[in-house]
Protein backbone atom coordinates (compact mmCIF):
# COMPACT_ATOMS: atom_id res chain seq x y z
CA UNK A 1 0.00 0.00 0.00
CA UNK A 2 2.75 2.41 1.00
CA UNK A 3 4.88 1.45 -1.97
CA UNK A 4 1.91 1.84 -4.32
CA UNK A 5 1.10 5.24 -2.84
CA UNK A 6 4.65 6.51 -3.26
CA UNK A 7 4.73 5.25 -6.83
CA UNK A 8 1.42 6.89 -7.63
CA UNK A 9 2.55 10.12 -5.99
CA UNK A 10 5.67 10.18 -8.17
CA UNK A 11 3.59 9.45 -11.27
CA UNK A 12 1.27 12.33 -10.44
CA UNK A 13 4.17 14.69 -9.89
CA UNK A 14 5.84 13.68 -13.14
CA UNK A 15 2.63 13.95 -15.15
CA UNK A 16 2.15 17.53 -13.90
CA UNK A 17 5.79 18.57 -14.29
CA UNK A 18 5.35 22.31 -14.72
CA UNK A 19 2.78 22.68 -11.99
CA UNK A 20 4.74 20.46 -9.60
CA UNK A 21 7.89 22.47 -10.23
CA UNK A 22 6.20 25.81 -9.67
CA UNK A 23 4.64 24.49 -6.49
CA UNK A 24 7.95 23.12 -5.29
CA UNK A 25 9.67 26.43 -6.02
CA UNK A 26 8.53 27.85 -2.69
CA UNK A 27 10.00 24.87 -0.84
CA UNK A 28 13.15 24.98 -2.98
CA UNK A 29 13.74 28.65 -2.17
CA UNK A 30 12.80 28.20 1.48
CA UNK A 31 14.96 25.16 2.18
CA UNK A 32 17.74 26.54 -0.03
CA UNK A 33 17.96 29.85 1.83
CA UNK A 34 17.74 28.27 5.28
CA UNK A 35 20.47 25.76 4.46
CA UNK A 36 22.65 28.36 2.74
CA UNK A 37 22.40 30.75 5.70
CA UNK A 38 23.07 28.10 8.31
CA UNK A 39 26.02 26.70 6.38
CA UNK A 40 27.54 30.12 5.63
CA UNK A 41 27.16 31.36 9.21
CA UNK A 42 28.50 28.16 10.73
CA UNK A 43 31.44 28.22 8.31
CA UNK A 44 32.19 31.83 9.19
CA UNK A 45 31.82 31.03 12.88
CA UNK A 46 34.24 28.18 12.74
CA UNK A 47 36.73 30.34 10.84
CA UNK A 48 36.52 33.08 13.48
CA UNK A 49 36.66 30.69 16.41
CA UNK A 50 39.56 28.83 14.82
CA UNK A 51 41.42 32.13 14.58
CA UNK A 52 40.65 32.95 18.18
CA UNK A 53 41.50 29.42 19.27
CA UNK A 54 44.82 29.62 17.41
CA UNK A 55 45.65 32.56 19.67
CA UNK A 56 45.13 30.02 22.40
CA UNK A 57 41.86 28.86 23.75
CA UNK A 58 43.68 27.70 26.84
CA UNK A 59 45.23 31.06 27.60
CA UNK A 60 44.51 33.89 29.96
CA UNK A 61 46.21 37.12 29.00
CA UNK A 62 47.03 39.78 31.53
CA UNK A 63 47.75 43.34 30.49
CA UNK A 64 49.26 45.46 33.21
CA UNK A 65 48.47 49.16 33.37
CA UNK A 66 49.95 49.49 36.83
CA UNK A 67 49.18 51.95 39.56
CA UNK A 68 51.09 55.15 40.44
CA UNK A 69 52.94 53.21 43.13
CA UNK A 70 53.66 50.08 41.15
CA UNK A 71 53.91 50.26 37.37
CA UNK A 72 53.97 46.52 36.69
CA UNK A 73 54.32 43.03 38.07
CA UNK A 74 57.41 41.71 39.79
CA UNK A 75 58.96 38.30 39.40
CA UNK A 76 57.49 37.55 42.84
CA UNK A 77 53.95 38.21 41.59
CA UNK A 78 54.52 35.94 38.61
CA UNK A 79 55.83 33.21 40.91
CA UNK A 80 52.65 33.43 43.00
CA UNK A 81 50.54 32.87 39.90
CA UNK A 82 52.79 29.98 38.87
CA UNK A 83 52.07 28.34 42.21
CA UNK A 84 48.31 28.19 41.50
CA UNK A 85 46.91 24.85 40.40
CA UNK A 86 45.88 24.21 36.79
CA UNK A 87 48.67 26.39 35.35
CA UNK A 88 50.88 24.78 32.74
CA UNK A 89 53.11 27.76 32.06
CA UNK A 90 53.52 31.51 32.14
CA UNK A 91 54.98 33.67 29.41
CA UNK A 92 55.76 37.14 30.78
CA UNK A 93 56.56 40.00 28.44
CA UNK A 94 58.59 43.07 29.13
CA UNK A 95 58.52 45.74 26.48
CA UNK A 96 60.46 48.88 25.95
CA UNK A 97 62.29 51.04 23.47
CA UNK A 98 65.96 50.75 22.68
CA UNK A 99 68.56 51.23 19.99
CA UNK A 100 70.75 48.63 18.32
CA UNK A 101 74.22 48.85 16.78
CA UNK A 102 76.53 46.64 14.75
CA UNK A 103 79.96 47.58 13.46
CA UNK A 104 79.36 51.27 14.05
CA UNK A 105 75.94 51.47 12.43
CA UNK A 106 73.10 52.34 14.78
CA UNK A 107 69.32 52.00 14.54
CA UNK A 108 67.01 53.87 16.88
CA UNK A 109 63.39 53.33 17.86
CA UNK A 110 63.71 49.60 18.14
CA UNK A 111 61.11 47.68 20.14
CA UNK A 112 62.72 45.59 22.83
CA UNK A 113 60.79 42.62 24.12
CA UNK A 114 61.73 40.32 26.94
CA UNK A 115 60.16 36.87 26.65
CA UNK A 116 60.79 33.36 27.91
CA UNK A 117 60.88 29.82 26.58
CA UNK A 118 57.21 29.21 27.41
CA UNK A 119 56.22 31.85 24.85
CA UNK A 120 58.23 30.20 22.10
CA UNK A 121 57.02 26.73 22.91
CA UNK A 122 53.39 27.81 22.62
CA UNK A 123 53.70 30.09 19.61
CA UNK A 124 54.32 28.91 16.10
CA UNK A 125 56.36 30.52 13.36
CA UNK A 126 58.10 33.15 15.46
CA UNK A 127 61.50 32.75 13.84
CA UNK A 128 62.48 32.18 10.25
CA UNK A 129 65.97 30.88 11.01
CA UNK A 130 68.28 30.23 13.93
CA UNK A 131 67.02 29.03 17.28
CA UNK A 132 64.51 30.18 19.85
CA UNK A 133 65.11 31.28 23.42
CA UNK A 134 65.38 28.22 25.66
CA UNK A 135 64.79 27.78 29.37
CA UNK A 136 68.55 27.73 29.97
CA UNK A 137 68.74 31.24 28.44
CA UNK A 138 66.05 32.44 30.80
CA UNK A 139 67.65 30.85 33.84
CA UNK A 140 71.15 32.18 33.06
CA UNK A 141 70.02 35.63 31.95
CA UNK A 142 71.91 34.88 28.75
CA UNK A 143 72.81 37.73 26.46
CA UNK A 144 71.20 36.30 23.37
CA UNK A 145 68.86 38.08 20.94
CA UNK A 146 66.43 37.40 18.14
CA UNK A 147 66.33 40.26 15.64
CA UNK A 148 63.74 41.51 13.16
CA UNK A 149 64.05 41.67 9.41
CA UNK A 150 64.61 45.44 9.14
CA UNK A 151 67.60 45.16 11.44
CA UNK A 152 69.01 42.29 9.40
CA UNK A 153 68.61 44.27 6.18
CA UNK A 154 70.12 47.45 7.54
CA UNK A 155 72.95 46.27 9.80
CA UNK A 156 74.00 42.96 8.29
CA UNK A 157 74.12 43.68 4.58
CA UNK A 158 75.52 40.62 2.84
CA UNK A 159 76.14 38.78 6.05
CA UNK A 160 74.43 36.04 8.00
CA UNK A 161 73.67 37.72 11.32
CA UNK A 162 73.33 34.43 13.22
CA UNK A 163 76.41 34.01 15.42
CA UNK A 164 77.30 37.68 15.05
CA UNK A 165 77.25 40.19 17.85
CA UNK A 166 74.73 42.98 18.30
CA UNK A 167 74.76 45.91 20.68
CA UNK A 168 71.37 46.50 22.28
CA UNK A 169 71.25 49.59 24.46
CA UNK A 170 75.03 49.48 24.57
CA UNK A 171 75.27 45.90 25.83
CA UNK A 172 76.62 43.17 23.61
CA UNK A 173 74.43 40.17 22.76
CA UNK A 174 74.79 37.15 20.52
CA UNK A 175 72.33 36.95 17.63
CA UNK A 176 70.78 33.45 17.77
CA UNK A 177 67.91 33.80 15.36
CA UNK A 178 65.94 35.97 12.95
CA UNK A 179 62.27 36.79 13.51
CA UNK A 180 59.68 35.86 10.94
CA UNK A 181 58.96 38.76 8.63
CA UNK A 182 55.64 40.34 9.52
CA UNK A 183 53.57 42.41 7.14
CA UNK A 184 53.75 46.06 8.02
CA UNK A 185 50.01 46.39 8.75
CA UNK A 186 50.05 43.72 11.39
CA UNK A 187 49.46 44.89 14.94
CA UNK A 188 52.42 42.81 16.03
CA UNK A 189 55.06 44.29 13.74
CA UNK A 190 58.26 42.51 14.64
CA UNK A 191 60.40 43.74 11.74
CA UNK A 192 62.12 46.34 13.86
CA UNK A 193 62.07 44.39 17.12
CA UNK A 194 64.60 42.51 19.14
CA UNK A 195 63.62 39.79 21.56
CA UNK A 196 65.82 38.83 24.50
CA UNK A 197 65.17 36.61 27.55
CA UNK A 198 62.94 38.56 29.95
CA UNK A 199 65.20 37.69 32.85
CA UNK A 200 68.05 39.32 30.95
CA UNK A 201 65.83 42.39 30.47
CA UNK A 202 65.29 42.55 34.23
CA UNK A 203 68.74 41.56 35.45
CA UNK A 204 71.01 43.07 32.81
CA UNK A 205 69.00 45.91 31.28
CA UNK A 206 67.37 46.82 34.57
CA UNK A 207 63.69 46.64 33.77
CA UNK A 208 61.75 46.59 37.02
CA UNK A 209 58.39 45.39 35.94
CA UNK A 210 56.68 42.83 33.75
CA UNK A 211 54.16 44.60 31.45
CA UNK A 212 52.04 41.70 30.38
CA UNK A 213 51.86 37.96 30.45
CA UNK A 214 50.10 35.01 28.96
CA UNK A 215 49.10 32.31 31.41
CA UNK A 216 48.61 28.82 29.95
CA UNK A 217 45.83 26.78 31.52
CA UNK A 218 46.19 23.01 31.86
CA UNK A 219 42.48 22.14 31.90
CA UNK A 220 40.31 24.45 29.76
CA UNK A 221 37.17 23.33 31.55
CA UNK A 222 38.41 25.00 34.73
CA UNK A 223 39.48 28.18 32.92
CA UNK A 224 36.93 30.33 34.75
CA UNK A 225 38.02 29.23 38.21
CA UNK A 226 41.68 29.64 37.38
CA UNK A 227 40.97 33.08 35.93
CA UNK A 228 39.33 34.12 39.21
CA UNK A 229 42.32 32.84 41.19
CA UNK A 230 44.70 34.80 38.98
CA UNK A 231 42.51 37.86 39.51
CA UNK A 232 42.86 37.36 43.24
CA UNK A 233 46.65 37.28 43.07
CA UNK A 234 46.75 40.34 40.81
CA UNK A 235 44.38 42.36 42.95
CA UNK A 236 46.54 41.61 45.98
CA UNK A 237 49.67 42.51 43.99
CA UNK A 238 48.18 45.95 43.32
CA UNK A 239 46.97 46.41 46.91
CA UNK A 240 43.36 45.86 46.05
CA UNK A 241 43.32 48.13 43.01
CA UNK A 242 41.54 46.24 40.27
CA UNK A 243 42.29 48.97 37.72
CA UNK A 244 45.93 47.99 37.74
CA UNK A 245 45.41 45.22 35.25
CA UNK A 246 43.13 43.81 32.58
CA UNK A 247 42.58 40.08 32.39
CA UNK A 248 41.16 38.31 29.37
CA UNK A 249 40.10 34.69 29.35
CA UNK A 250 40.23 33.38 25.77
CA UNK A 251 37.83 30.59 26.56
CA UNK A 252 35.15 33.04 27.57
CA UNK A 253 35.75 35.13 24.44
CA UNK A 254 35.33 31.98 22.40
CA UNK A 255 32.10 31.15 24.16
CA UNK A 256 30.79 34.65 23.61
CA UNK A 257 31.57 34.49 19.90
CA UNK A 258 29.87 31.14 19.55
CA UNK A 259 26.84 32.30 21.47
CA UNK A 260 26.51 35.43 19.36
CA UNK A 261 26.86 33.63 16.05
CA UNK A 262 24.42 30.94 17.01
CA UNK A 263 21.85 33.61 17.87
CA UNK A 264 22.63 35.30 14.56
CA UNK A 265 22.27 32.07 12.63
CA UNK A 266 18.97 31.22 14.32
CA UNK A 267 17.65 34.69 13.56
CA UNK A 268 18.61 34.45 9.90
CA UNK A 269 17.23 30.95 9.60
CA UNK A 270 14.03 32.15 11.27
CA UNK A 271 13.62 34.90 8.69
CA UNK A 272 14.36 32.49 5.86
CA UNK A 273 11.88 29.98 7.20
CA UNK A 274 9.09 32.48 6.52
CA UNK A 275 9.61 31.58 2.88
CA UNK A 276 9.20 27.93 3.88
CA UNK A 277 5.78 28.73 5.29
CA UNK A 278 4.89 30.51 2.04
CA UNK A 279 6.11 27.44 0.16
CA UNK A 280 3.97 25.24 2.38
CA UNK A 281 0.89 27.30 1.55
CA UNK A 282 1.72 26.76 -2.13
CA UNK A 283 1.81 23.01 -1.50
CA UNK A 284 -1.53 23.16 0.27
CA UNK A 285 -3.02 25.10 -2.64
CA UNK A 286 -1.80 22.58 -5.19
CA UNK A 287 -3.02 19.65 -3.11
CA UNK A 288 -6.48 21.24 -2.81
CA UNK A 289 -6.61 21.70 -6.58
CA UNK A 290 -5.47 18.12 -7.01
CA UNK A 291 -8.19 16.81 -4.68
CA UNK A 292 -10.84 18.73 -6.62
CA UNK A 293 -9.52 17.53 -9.96
CA UNK A 294 -9.41 13.95 -8.85
CA UNK A 295 -12.78 13.84 -7.12
CA UNK A 296 -14.03 11.04 -9.35
CA UNK A 297 -10.81 9.06 -8.78
CA UNK A 298 -11.38 9.39 -5.04
CA UNK A 299 -14.99 8.25 -5.48
CA UNK A 300 -13.89 5.26 -7.51
CA UNK A 301 -11.25 4.26 -4.99
CA UNK A 302 -13.84 4.46 -2.23
CA UNK A 303 -16.28 2.36 -4.26
CA UNK A 304 -13.54 -0.23 -4.73
CA UNK A 305 -13.03 -0.41 -1.00
CA UNK A 306 -10.49 2.23 -0.02
CA UNK A 307 -10.80 3.25 3.62
CA UNK A 308 -10.93 6.99 4.36
CA UNK A 309 -7.56 6.78 6.06
CA UNK A 310 -6.04 5.08 3.02
CA UNK A 311 -7.23 7.97 0.84
CA UNK A 312 -5.85 10.42 3.39
CA UNK A 313 -2.52 8.61 3.47
CA UNK A 314 -2.29 8.63 -0.31
CA UNK A 315 -2.69 12.41 -0.53
CA UNK A 316 -0.44 12.97 2.46
CA UNK A 317 2.27 10.91 0.79
CA UNK A 318 1.87 12.94 -2.38
CA UNK A 319 2.36 16.16 -0.48
CA UNK A 320 5.34 14.79 1.47
CA UNK A 321 6.98 13.43 -1.68
CA UNK A 322 6.46 16.78 -3.39
CA UNK A 323 8.03 18.61 -0.44
CA UNK A 324 10.90 16.14 -0.15
CA UNK A 325 11.81 16.54 -3.81
CA UNK A 326 11.63 20.31 -3.38
CA UNK A 327 13.65 20.01 -0.17
CA UNK A 328 16.38 17.96 -1.83
CA UNK A 329 16.66 20.39 -4.76
CA UNK A 330 16.64 23.31 -2.32
CA UNK A 331 19.27 21.63 -0.18
CA UNK A 332 21.58 21.09 -3.16
CA UNK A 333 21.12 24.70 -4.27
CA UNK A 334 21.58 26.03 -0.73
CA UNK A 335 24.75 24.04 -0.15
CA UNK A 336 26.14 25.08 -3.53
CA UNK A 337 25.43 28.71 -2.75
CA UNK A 338 27.09 28.36 0.65
CA UNK A 339 30.11 26.75 -0.99
CA UNK A 340 30.44 29.60 -3.50
CA UNK A 341 30.06 32.24 -0.78
CA UNK A 342 32.53 30.48 1.52
CA UNK A 343 35.08 30.44 -1.29
CA UNK A 344 34.43 34.08 -2.16
CA UNK A 345 34.81 35.44 1.37
CA UNK A 346 37.39 32.86 2.35
CA UNK A 347 35.66 31.23 5.29
CA UNK A 348 35.60 27.52 5.87
CA UNK A 349 32.85 25.35 4.40
CA UNK A 350 31.54 22.49 6.44
CA UNK A 351 28.46 20.38 5.75
CA UNK A 352 27.22 18.67 8.87
CA UNK A 353 24.90 15.68 9.11
CA UNK A 354 22.55 17.77 11.21
CA UNK A 355 22.14 20.24 8.32
CA UNK A 356 21.18 17.38 5.99
CA UNK A 357 18.70 16.01 8.53
CA UNK A 358 17.34 19.50 9.13
CA UNK A 359 16.62 19.99 5.41
CA UNK A 360 14.98 16.60 4.99
CA UNK A 361 13.10 16.76 8.26
CA UNK A 362 11.85 20.27 7.61
CA UNK A 363 10.57 19.55 4.13
CA UNK A 364 8.85 16.34 5.23
CA UNK A 365 7.26 18.20 8.13
CA UNK A 366 5.95 20.89 5.78
CA UNK A 367 4.51 18.16 3.57
CA UNK A 368 2.66 16.67 6.52
CA UNK A 369 1.47 19.97 8.00
CA UNK A 370 0.28 21.56 4.77
CA UNK A 371 -0.86 18.31 3.16
CA UNK A 372 -3.00 17.33 6.12
CA UNK A 373 -5.98 19.54 5.39
CA UNK A 374 -6.31 18.65 1.67
CA UNK A 375 -5.78 14.97 2.45
CA UNK A 376 -8.48 15.02 5.10
CA UNK A 377 -10.80 16.80 2.69
CA UNK A 378 -10.19 14.01 0.16
CA UNK A 379 -10.83 11.30 2.73
CA UNK A 380 -14.15 12.86 3.71
CA UNK A 381 -15.60 13.10 0.21
CA UNK A 382 -18.89 11.28 -0.16
CA UNK A 383 -18.30 8.51 -2.74
CA UNK A 384 -21.71 9.03 -4.38
CA UNK A 385 -21.09 12.72 -5.01
CA UNK A 386 -17.52 11.99 -5.99
CA UNK A 387 -18.52 9.38 -8.57
CA UNK A 388 -21.24 11.62 -10.00
CA UNK A 389 -18.78 14.42 -10.76
CA UNK A 390 -17.54 12.79 -13.95
Amino acid sequence: MLKESIKMALENIVSNKMRSFLTMLGIIIGVGSVIALITIVSGATSTVTDQVASMGANTVTVQVQGTPLKQGLTQGDVNKIAELSNISGIAPTISGQTSVAFEGNTMDEITLQGKNDVYFENTEDVISSGRIIKSIDTENESRVALIGNDIVNELYVGKNPIGQEIKIGGITYNVIGILQESDSFSSTDTNSSVIIPYTTAMGVVGAKYINSMTVYIADEALADTTTRQIEGVLTKAFNGDEDGYTIVNMQSILETIEEMTSILSMMLAGIASISLVVGGIGIMNMMLVSVTERTSEIGLRKALGAEPKQIQLQFLIESVVLCLIGGIIGFILGVSLAWVVANLIGTSFALTASTVLLAIGFSAAIGVVFGFMPARKASRLNPIDALRSV
Binding site: L300, K302, A303, G305, E307, I384
Partner: protein
Protein backbone atom coordinates in the same frame (compact mmCIF):
# COMPACT_ATOMS: atom_id res chain seq x y z
CA UNK B 1 -33.25 -24.46 -2.92
CA UNK B 2 -31.70 -21.21 -4.20
CA UNK B 3 -29.44 -19.33 -1.83
CA UNK B 4 -30.73 -15.88 -0.94
CA UNK B 5 -27.88 -13.40 -0.91
CA UNK B 6 -29.76 -10.10 -0.88
CA UNK B 7 -32.96 -9.19 0.86
CA UNK B 8 -34.70 -5.81 1.15
CA UNK B 9 -37.85 -5.30 3.16
CA UNK B 10 -39.94 -2.13 3.02
CA UNK B 11 -36.85 -0.13 2.23
CA UNK B 12 -37.38 3.62 2.25
CA UNK B 13 -34.94 6.34 1.34
CA UNK B 14 -35.75 9.99 1.83
CA UNK B 15 -33.67 13.05 1.14
CA UNK B 16 -34.13 16.40 2.77
CA UNK B 17 -34.07 19.06 0.07
CA UNK B 18 -34.23 22.38 1.86
CA UNK B 19 -37.45 22.29 3.89
CA UNK B 20 -38.95 19.58 1.75
CA UNK B 21 -38.63 15.89 2.43
CA UNK B 22 -38.35 13.95 -0.77
CA UNK B 23 -39.14 10.22 -0.69
CA UNK B 24 -37.04 8.61 -3.41
CA UNK B 25 -37.61 4.94 -2.57
CA UNK B 26 -41.08 4.21 -1.27
CA UNK B 27 -40.89 0.82 0.39
CA UNK B 28 -38.86 -1.53 -1.77
CA UNK B 29 -39.12 -5.28 -1.30
CA UNK B 30 -36.51 -7.23 -3.22
CA UNK B 31 -34.86 -10.63 -2.99
CA UNK B 32 -31.92 -11.78 -5.07
CA UNK B 33 -30.65 -15.35 -5.19
CA UNK B 34 -27.16 -16.49 -5.97
CA UNK B 35 -26.78 -16.87 -9.71
CA UNK B 36 -29.51 -14.36 -10.63
CA UNK B 37 -29.02 -11.91 -13.47
CA UNK B 38 -31.37 -9.16 -12.40
CA UNK B 39 -32.15 -6.18 -14.60
CA UNK B 40 -33.50 -3.12 -12.82
CA UNK B 41 -35.33 -1.18 -15.50
CA UNK B 42 -36.46 2.34 -14.93
CA UNK B 43 -36.50 5.80 -16.45
CA UNK B 44 -34.27 8.54 -15.10
CA UNK B 45 -35.54 10.04 -11.88
CA UNK B 46 -37.26 6.79 -10.95
CA UNK B 47 -34.93 6.20 -8.01
CA UNK B 48 -32.87 3.50 -9.69
CA UNK B 49 -29.57 5.27 -9.03
CA UNK B 50 -30.47 5.59 -5.36
CA UNK B 51 -31.35 1.90 -5.30
CA UNK B 52 -28.01 1.08 -6.90
CA UNK B 53 -26.14 3.19 -4.34
CA UNK B 54 -27.88 1.35 -1.53
CA UNK B 55 -27.27 -2.09 -3.06
CA UNK B 56 -23.62 -1.06 -3.54
CA UNK B 57 -23.32 0.07 0.09
CA UNK B 58 -22.40 3.57 -1.02
CA UNK B 59 -25.51 4.79 0.77
CA UNK B 60 -27.71 3.42 3.54
CA UNK B 61 -31.54 3.27 3.73
CA UNK B 62 -33.54 5.72 5.85
CA UNK B 63 -35.75 2.90 7.11
CA UNK B 64 -36.52 -0.71 6.34
CA UNK B 65 -33.97 -3.49 6.28
CA UNK B 66 -31.28 -4.48 3.82
CA UNK B 67 -29.42 -7.75 4.28
CA UNK B 68 -26.43 -8.52 2.08
CA UNK B 69 -24.88 -11.98 2.52
CA UNK B 70 -26.79 -12.19 5.77
CA UNK B 71 -25.34 -8.94 7.10
CA UNK B 72 -27.57 -6.02 8.01
CA UNK B 73 -26.42 -2.95 6.11
CA UNK B 74 -27.21 0.16 8.07
CA UNK B 75 -25.56 3.38 9.10
CA UNK B 76 -22.15 1.84 9.72
CA UNK B 77 -18.87 3.77 10.01
CA UNK B 78 -17.40 4.45 6.58
CA UNK B 79 -14.45 2.18 7.19
CA UNK B 80 -16.81 -0.79 7.70
CA UNK B 81 -18.85 0.08 4.62
CA UNK B 82 -15.63 0.30 2.59
CA UNK B 83 -14.68 -3.21 3.68
CA UNK B 84 -18.13 -4.52 2.76
CA UNK B 85 -17.92 -2.86 -0.67
CA UNK B 86 -14.49 -4.30 -1.26
CA UNK B 87 -15.58 -7.81 -0.33
CA UNK B 88 -19.17 -8.01 -1.60
CA UNK B 89 -19.57 -5.66 -4.57
CA UNK B 90 -17.95 -5.48 -8.01
CA UNK B 91 -18.85 -2.12 -9.52
CA UNK B 92 -19.18 -1.62 -13.28
CA UNK B 93 -19.86 1.96 -14.31
CA UNK B 94 -21.30 3.57 -17.43
CA UNK B 95 -18.14 5.68 -17.86
CA UNK B 96 -15.81 2.76 -17.01
CA UNK B 97 -14.03 4.85 -14.32
CA UNK B 98 -10.53 3.62 -15.10
CA UNK B 99 -7.56 5.56 -13.77
CA UNK B 100 -5.93 7.05 -16.88
CA UNK B 101 -2.33 6.86 -15.62
CA UNK B 102 -2.43 3.19 -14.74
CA UNK B 103 -2.11 0.24 -17.11
CA UNK B 104 -5.06 -2.11 -17.61
CA UNK B 105 -3.50 -4.60 -15.25
CA UNK B 106 -2.80 -1.98 -12.57
CA UNK B 107 -6.39 -0.80 -12.82
CA UNK B 108 -7.59 -4.35 -12.24
CA UNK B 109 -5.23 -4.71 -9.28
CA UNK B 110 -6.64 -1.63 -7.53
CA UNK B 111 -9.39 -3.34 -5.46
CA UNK B 112 -6.92 -6.09 -4.50
CA UNK B 113 -4.57 -3.43 -3.08
CA UNK B 114 -7.36 -2.31 -0.76
CA UNK B 115 -8.12 -5.93 0.07
CA UNK B 116 -4.52 -6.27 1.24
CA UNK B 117 -3.56 -8.91 -1.33
CA UNK B 118 0.24 -9.24 -1.77
CA UNK B 119 1.76 -7.96 -5.01
CA UNK B 120 2.66 -11.33 -6.57
CA UNK B 121 -0.84 -12.68 -6.05
CA UNK B 122 -2.37 -9.44 -7.34
CA UNK B 123 -0.40 -9.73 -10.56
CA UNK B 124 -1.35 -13.37 -11.06
CA UNK B 125 -5.03 -12.81 -10.37
CA UNK B 126 -5.32 -9.66 -12.48
CA UNK B 127 -3.51 -11.30 -15.41
CA UNK B 128 -5.77 -14.33 -15.18
CA UNK B 129 -8.97 -12.31 -15.10
CA UNK B 130 -7.88 -10.04 -17.97
CA UNK B 131 -7.27 -13.17 -19.99
CA UNK B 132 -10.80 -14.29 -19.08
CA UNK B 133 -12.34 -11.08 -20.54
CA UNK B 134 -10.21 -11.43 -23.67
CA UNK B 135 -7.53 -8.80 -23.03
CA UNK B 136 -4.48 -10.99 -22.47
CA UNK B 137 -2.53 -8.90 -25.00
CA UNK B 138 -3.63 -5.50 -23.66
CA UNK B 139 -2.57 -5.81 -20.04
CA UNK B 140 0.10 -3.12 -20.22
CA UNK B 141 -1.97 -0.67 -22.25
CA UNK B 142 -3.30 2.44 -20.64
CA UNK B 143 -7.04 3.16 -20.91
CA UNK B 144 -6.54 5.78 -23.65
CA UNK B 145 -4.86 3.12 -25.79
CA UNK B 146 -7.97 0.94 -25.61
CA UNK B 147 -11.35 1.13 -27.36
CA UNK B 148 -14.51 1.80 -25.36
CA UNK B 149 -15.46 -1.88 -25.40
CA UNK B 150 -11.99 -2.89 -24.26
CA UNK B 151 -12.09 -0.29 -21.49
CA UNK B 152 -15.38 -1.70 -20.26
CA UNK B 153 -13.87 -5.18 -20.32
CA UNK B 154 -11.04 -3.90 -18.11
CA UNK B 155 -13.66 -2.45 -15.78
CA UNK B 156 -15.50 -5.80 -15.74
CA UNK B 157 -12.22 -7.57 -14.98
CA UNK B 158 -11.68 -5.12 -12.11
CA UNK B 159 -15.15 -5.94 -10.77
CA UNK B 160 -14.55 -9.69 -11.08
CA UNK B 161 -11.05 -9.86 -9.63
CA UNK B 162 -12.12 -9.75 -5.97
CA UNK B 163 -14.72 -12.48 -6.60
CA UNK B 164 -17.50 -10.37 -5.11
CA UNK B 165 -20.95 -11.59 -4.12
CA UNK B 166 -22.66 -9.26 -6.60
CA UNK B 167 -21.57 -7.66 -9.86
CA UNK B 168 -23.32 -4.31 -9.79
CA UNK B 169 -23.48 -2.70 -13.25
CA UNK B 170 -24.84 0.81 -13.80
CA UNK B 171 -25.81 1.28 -17.48
CA UNK B 172 -22.81 -0.80 -18.59
CA UNK B 173 -23.54 -0.26 -22.30
CA UNK B 174 -24.61 3.38 -21.95
CA UNK B 175 -21.36 4.80 -23.32
CA UNK B 176 -20.89 2.19 -26.06
CA UNK B 177 -22.21 1.82 -29.61
CA UNK B 178 -24.84 -0.84 -30.18
CA UNK B 179 -22.53 -3.53 -31.53
CA UNK B 180 -19.98 -3.12 -28.77
CA UNK B 181 -22.82 -3.01 -26.26
CA UNK B 182 -24.04 -6.36 -27.55
CA UNK B 183 -20.57 -7.84 -27.12
CA UNK B 184 -20.48 -6.62 -23.53
CA UNK B 185 -23.93 -8.12 -22.94
CA UNK B 186 -22.67 -11.39 -24.39
CA UNK B 187 -19.89 -11.31 -21.82
CA UNK B 188 -22.44 -10.65 -19.05
CA UNK B 189 -24.45 -13.66 -20.21
CA UNK B 190 -21.35 -15.83 -20.13
CA UNK B 191 -20.66 -14.67 -16.59
CA UNK B 192 -24.28 -15.47 -15.71
CA UNK B 193 -23.83 -18.96 -17.22
CA UNK B 194 -20.75 -19.38 -14.99
CA UNK B 195 -22.96 -18.72 -12.00
CA UNK B 196 -22.10 -15.11 -11.20
CA UNK B 197 -24.75 -12.96 -9.58
CA UNK B 198 -25.37 -9.80 -11.61
CA UNK B 199 -27.48 -6.75 -10.89
CA UNK B 200 -27.75 -4.43 -13.88
CA UNK B 201 -29.38 -1.03 -13.73
CA UNK B 202 -30.63 0.35 -17.06
CA UNK B 203 -33.22 2.57 -18.65
CA UNK B 204 -33.10 0.56 -21.89
CA UNK B 205 -35.69 -2.23 -22.13
CA UNK B 206 -33.72 -4.00 -24.88
CA UNK B 207 -30.64 -4.14 -22.66
CA UNK B 208 -32.75 -5.21 -19.69
CA UNK B 209 -34.00 -8.21 -21.66
CA UNK B 210 -30.55 -9.78 -21.27
CA UNK B 211 -31.26 -10.44 -17.61
CA UNK B 212 -32.79 -13.61 -16.26
CA UNK B 213 -35.16 -11.47 -14.23
CA UNK B 214 -36.42 -7.95 -14.72
CA UNK B 215 -37.79 -5.60 -12.11
CA UNK B 216 -39.23 -2.22 -13.03
CA UNK B 217 -38.76 0.79 -10.85
CA UNK B 218 -41.12 3.68 -11.42
CA UNK B 219 -41.41 6.68 -9.13
CA UNK B 220 -39.75 4.91 -6.23
CA UNK B 221 -41.86 1.77 -6.43
CA UNK B 222 -40.54 -1.62 -7.54
CA UNK B 223 -42.57 -4.22 -9.41
CA UNK B 224 -41.55 -7.62 -10.72
CA UNK B 225 -41.34 -7.66 -14.50
CA UNK B 226 -42.95 -10.09 -16.85
CA UNK B 227 -39.92 -11.08 -18.82
CA UNK B 228 -38.03 -14.21 -17.86
CA UNK B 229 -35.17 -15.65 -19.80
Amino acid sequence: MPEKILEMKNLIKTYIMGDEEQVVLKGIDLEINRGDFLSVLGPSGSGKSTLMNIIGCLDVPTSGTYYLSGELIRDLPEVDLSHIRNREIGFIFQQFQLLPRLSAQKNVELPLIYAGVPEKERQARSAHILERVGLADKMNNRPNQLSGGQQQRVAIARALVTEPTILLADEPTGALDQQTGQQIMALFKELYQEGKTIVMITHDADVAKNGSRIVRIVDGNLSEGVYNA
